[in-house]
């Protein structure tokens, strides 16, 4: 698939001398939802800042649909909407005024009907005449989302869009994101709620200490790095795992009534059939079988830990 955003060899050393990014290469595909994950201070916001023109890169190039984001910044920025991590809002402005301002700032002709739709989508319509300082944190977050959507971006950056947003509204936001994607908007989001990435993303990138340590198709990643567990609930109580089952490294539950087999989800030879045969041969009667698969969160924690 054609990439809409191309980040090449981008690094950033802040004035303090701190190197926040070390030579990042990343291609974002047109129309995908890309989740950028990483622990606090990994460099996510810095990378987004560089693409959006808020942070100056120390080296490298960013190309947005063919527009170099420094030489042809107008072409590049016209396509991008940014919802920043910090709640930077104009306290004294009304919700309506600030959204209209954003639209004008990005050079789009006034379109009250469109702004109205955006505000309704993020459930802020009833607050349109309220001053932003009278809103709650979660509402301010939605104001920022509305501002970014008000100028109809082709690429939307959501830097922790759901931080501080309640569960109900988080679901609404996912709906908004899905609807945008359906319209062909490319979305790059960062989040610390990994289930969010798991639910939404097409691809996942993991950044740690300024380095992109992995970029993968989400499904592929889960298949490759995900672990599966098969738990056999037993009809009888076992005191120990029978000798013949030793190669499977089964774990016996404390109450002796369940055996758990852990295997790599991507493994070619998982040995499930042989294991079940062996269990039957050992005359172990089964009550139930359950399988569970590790979440993106487990994978992520594993990866970052391995990276040191």
């Amino acid at each position: 698939m054609q990439s809409i955003l191309s980040i090449k060899n981008v690094s950033k050393t802040y004035a303090s001398g701190f190197q926040a990014l070390k030579s990042i290469d990343l291609e974002i595909r047109r129309g995908e939802i890309f989740a950028l994950l990483g622990p606090n201070g990994a460099g996510k916001t810095t990378l987004i800042g560089i693409v959006c023109g808020i942070v100056k890169a120390s080296s490298g190039t960013v190309t947005v649909d063919g527009h170099d984001n420094v030489r042809d910044y107008r072409g590049a920025r016209e396509m991008i909407g940014l919802v920043p991590q910090e709640l930077h809002t104009d306290s004294f402005e009304t919700v309506w005024a600030t959204c209209t301002f954003s639209r004008g700032l990005f050079g789009k002709p006034a379109n009250p009907a469109f702004v109205e739709k955006v505000l309704k989508d993020v459930s802020l319509w009833d607050k349109k005449d309220s001053k932003i300082m009278t809103l709650s944190g979660g509402m301010k977050r939605r104001v920022l989302i509305a501002k970014a959507l008000a100028h109809e971006p082709d690429i939307l950056f959501l830097d922790e869009p759901t931080a501080g947003v309640d569960v109900e509204l988080r679901k609404d936001m996912w709906e908004v994101v899905r609807a945008l994607r359906a319209k062909g908007v490319t979305i790059i989001l960062t989040t610390h709620y990994i289930e969010e990435a798991e639910l939404m993303a097409d691809r996942v990138g993991v950044i740690n200490k300024g380095e992109l340590i992995l970029v993968e198709d989400k499904a592929e990643l889960m298949r490759k790095l995900g672990k599966k567990q098969m738990t056999f609930e037993l009809q009888q109580k076992l005191d120990a795992v029978p000798e013949a089952l030793a190669p499977y490294k089964l774990a016996l539950a404390a109450d002796g009534r369940a055996l758990t087999y852990t295997y790599e989800a991507q493994g070619e030879h998982r040995g499930v059939t042989r294991l079940v045969e062996e269990l039957l041969r050992q005359n172990i009667r089964l009550k139930d079988i359950a399988t569970t698969q590790s979440s993106l969160e487990d994978i992520f924690v594993d990866l970052v830990r391995k990276d040191g």
Partner: protein
């Protein structure tokens, strides 16, 4: 040219003025009027005429200039410093706007406000002292160019400052003293030669002199020099703004 962005910034800034009408218009008009009352009506009648102009009338151009300078600088510096301070500047930086467009929006709004303020003060002065405007077009030109130039200076200060103190220091410690010493209340011709020479190093002398000439055709320095000084100042401010944006100095991380 992203004219919609210029308009968006301009109207945003003008709306801010509207919200703070008392602080930004009423209060400077009131405090300047006090000068007219005290120096024009009360004490002015006991001070001899200067070059054929009554004292109360003589100080009007200088006082308007003083308000124009401080208000332009304060308003423009606040306009750009505040978004930097609260972080909303991110949106301006991420928008498809050029340095010129950002400057036009912010400085245009600050200058507009100063011009309106100047005209209101001028009208108010008419209530207290006799006024004569010999060259209305020149008067307007001085009003407009001074407002633009000092709004640019304020814009520079707002881009540079890192705290509210720094924002206040320049208007308070530089602009106000220089206007007081810049012939707002006297003709520098009354000073001893040494202090006359020192005064000529004060750029505000040229502004006040030119502006006063447009009223009463009396000037401390020639009109050409006044105009040239404003032009030099304007170009210098433009160059500094251009350099700030070009290098991202204090604007981008």
């Amino acid at each position: 040219m992203n004219h919609r962005a210029v308009w968006a910034i301009y109207s945003f800034e003008m709306a801010r003025t509207g919200r703070t009408l008392f602080q930004s218009i009423v209060s400077p008009v009131l405090s300047t009027s006090l000068y007219f009352v005290v120096f024009g009506a009360a004490i002015g009648s006991r001070i001899p005429e200067i070059e054929g102009v009554g004292y109360g009338s003589f100080i009007v151009p200088g006082l308007i200039m003083m308000t124009l300078l401080t208000q332009s600088v304060m308003n423009a510096s606040f306009g750009i410093y505040f978004p930097r301070f609260v972080g909303t500047i991110f949106e301006i930086l991420s928008a498809p706007v050029s340095a010129l467009e950002i400057t036009l929006g912010y400085v245009g709004a600050a200058a507009t406000k100063s011009i309106i303020l100047g005209l209101i003060i001028l009208a108010t002065a008419g209530f207290f002292v006799p006024l004569k405007i010999a060259h209305p077009l020149w008067m307007l030109a001085f009003l407009v160019f001074t407002s633009v130039t000092f709004s640019l200076l304020g814009f520079i200060i707002g881009l540079w400052a890192e705290g509210f103190e720094k924002l206040q220091i320049i208007p308070l410690l530089i602009i106000t003293p220089l206007t007081f010493l810049g012939g707002s209340f006297y003709s520098i011709n009354v000073l001893p030669p040494f202090w006359q020479a020192v005064s000529l190093a004060n750029p505000i002398v040229y502004l006040v002199s030119g502006f006063r000439w447009s009223f009463y055709e009396v000037a401390d320095v020639s009109l050409t020099v006044s105009v040239a000084m404003i032009a030099v100042f304007l170009v210098a401010c433009l160059a500094i703004v251009w350099w700030f944006f070009k290098t991202g100095y204090k604007i981008k991380k």
